[in-house]
Symmetry: none
């Protein structure tokens, strides 16, 4: 493997939802403490450890708000709801000021009464339906639409003078008529008009589309309606490269995190074998990180499975997932052949006893040539508590990492 261009590299390796609480069946240990993690423990022993509040003490972080914070963007000022990041996550280009919606494909009758909010959970042909309405121009506004998984999709409106205080066209129940979106102010009234026109025109386009004619011939409910909901204005975010002067790549498994990376104009390599599930190929993820670092200064990696096991309340499965993460880390470190600082942490806790995200602190370690090893010998919630990093915040990560990398400007003389 040849030496890449550039100097010091940096990576943040995140096991989604890895942190946890004591589990009775594990003798009061957490899954991370109970797991066999020789690579994580070795890096802890060579590195500097601590605990981190991903957003702030006690705050229950989402994966989206947490990743914004870990990349150095204040989620309180930049997180304007799921719409913008989900739209970016499905692959739409989203620009600051765009109005973004989550959408369902639905089935309506000729009176526009909703007979199925999910169009029979349609899972084939939605890319054809989406392409048929994508790019629609309404006055000075362009409508971008893309399908997501199953009956889901995203709508982005781009044009001057659009507001986001808009009610849903989705009435959220079957048997009701498609709602007319209403705007709360002048700008939002313009948005509402565009939404209503988009919904109306889409119906005329979709109901005649061959995908739906075929579904009707098969006795399936046609996906003849698009129901936008949850309007959110896309925030203006400084691209990662502009903020840090570093080229960045995101090796991720979920659309939501990919959306954040795309928003920050980071590269997103595709990783065959990265399923986002328990069966994901952690070695493929690790190699993608190493490859990304070959031609980027920075990489962030999100390994999803640990979070799934937390939501499932399955401690044994969570231990397996954490051991996968340990192999991922081992592979990255084994294959890197240039100076790199690595941060390993979780974006939040998903305790198996709670089955959802909590606002507990998460363990974190910094590893690389510039750190001061602190004598912590194992990577875990309790061992890391005595590390020399103390208790830090997610938004401090990038300054701390770019300091170690030696790429940060001095503040003052």
């Amino acid at each position: 493997m040849s030496e890449p261009a550039g100097g010091q590299k940096g990576a943040i390796l995140i096991a989604d939802g890895m942190a946890d609480r004591p589990v009775d069946s594990l003798g009061g240990l957490t899954p991370l403490e109970a797991a066999k993690t020789p690579n994580l423990d070795r890096l802890a022993a060579q590195g500097e450890c601590g605990l981190m509040d991903p957003i702030a003490p006690g705050i229950r972080a989402g994966s989206d708000t947490s990743h914004l914070a870990l990349l150095g963007y204040d989620p309180h000022s930049t997180y304007t709801g799921r719409g913008p990041f989900e739209a970016a996550g499905v692959g739409l280009e989203v620009k600051g000021g765009d109005i973004c919606f989550r959408c369902n494909f639905a089935t309506v009758d000729s009176s526009l009464i909703i007979t199925d909010r999910r169009a029979g959970r349609i899972n084939r042909g939605t890319e054809i339906l989406a392409a048929a309405v994508d790019g629609m121009v309404i006055g000075d506004v362009t409508c971008f639409f893309k399908e997501s998984v199953e009956h889901r999709g995203a709508l982005v409106l781009r044009g001057p003078g659009l507001g986001h205080q808009v009610s849903d066209a989705d009435p959220h129940k079957e048997g009701a008529r498609v709602a007319l979106a209403q705007g709360a102010d002048e700008a939002s009234k313009k948005t509402a008009q565009v939404v209503n026109e988009f919904v109306s025109r889409s119906y005329e386009i979709l109901r005649r589309n061959p995908v739906n004619l075929e579904r009707e011939a098969q006795g399936k409910p046609p996906a003849n309606m698009i129901l936008p909901r949850g309007a959110g204005v896309a925030p203006h975010l400084e691209p990662f490269k502009v903020r840090y002067g570093l080229s960045g790549a995101a090796v991720v498994e979920t659309g939501l995190i990919a959306g954040i990376a795309r928003y920050l104009e980071m590269d997103i390599p595709s990783v065959p074998g990265a399923t986002g599930g328990y069966d994901t190929d952690e070695i493929a993820l690790a190699r993608a990180v190493v490859e990304a670092l070959r031609d980027h200064d920075f990489a962030i990696c999100n390994f999803k499975a640990a979070d799934l096991a937390g939501h499932d309340g399955n401690a044994a499965k969570k231990i397996e997932c954490i051991e996968k993460m340990d192999r991922l880390v081992g592979e990255v470190v084994a294959k890197l052949s240039w100076p790199t600082h690595i941060v390993i942490t979780a974006d939040h806790s998903t305790p198996v006893t709670f089955k959802d995200h909590t606002g507990d602190t998460v363990p974190i370690l910094f590893w690389g040539p510039a750190v001061r090893p602190d004598g912590v010998k194992a990577f875990g919630e309790r061992p890391c508590a005595s590390g020399s990093l103390g208790r830090i915040r997610g938004q401090w990560l990038m300054p701390m990492l770019t300091n170690l990398m030696g790429t940060q400007e001095k503040f003052g003389a």
Copy 2:
């Protein structure tokens, strides 16, 4: 004891001024470290410990500003002086925008020269005098007045367009004439006019009141004048229930803390035996906490005596008070029969060597089913320094507690 309504409960148990500095006569231990505290030590061993800056590092907190912070309200933006909270503390209803004053009953001669600023330290009949002036209407402003202990009282002005930049009617010395309040701006000039009218009318009412006629017959100085001072505008504070979605009760011994609780629209059970002094019944306080948790989601308890011993500079007495607090904690834990997370801490230090509040960190512990025990074996300033909470701030308590209780909304997806 039957199971209460609702799910997880939470409590903050505060020993006022408990934290301290090393005391020579205790071999360099603090009173808390020297005290026998089996219950606190047991909870420390089962819980998660740390140190807390009640407001911010080094800041010498009052009990009022600290309790605001511990309940999650930024004291820098919400604390507008003692007036509003003292007025609420004596039982007056205070609303955001009200102008509040601390007052003395005083004695004046017929030329309105003050002959006794405390009306002979009157301690009987002030409730009759207060009722005689309470509810006075001056233009579009209503004046609410209530007596406090001895010669003290509180005045609340409610009406449109009132300012709080008003000088005192109290000249702060005997032999001087009652001062005319002056307003620094238009709104405050209106307030000054109301204050001066209130003072003048009160004199006419009070000097003829039977309580004063009887005092004069007994050769005692009549309480024929009310002297307002220390104008403060009441802040607009979100009620506790609105902010956290939790019903809350305050088991407290002093008017100042009761005022904060009343302001936040928390319930304030009366506790027979809670004297606020060295002789207080700590078991009665503990039982009131348990009872409060029966029909509330949250309780805060302030045990006052440790602070008194600090102000008195009496280390032996402070140890006794802390041992009372230990019994209070033991009783609460013994009598609770539903899942509860408990925080134990002090609102500030009142070192016996300093005899007033200091801005040192205070020990804190979190206890309950969701915490990660950290190996700390005793509750004290030095033992808690190695706990996994690290160094936290007062305003983080409520997010941290509602996270453990499982009642907090997630931020993001």
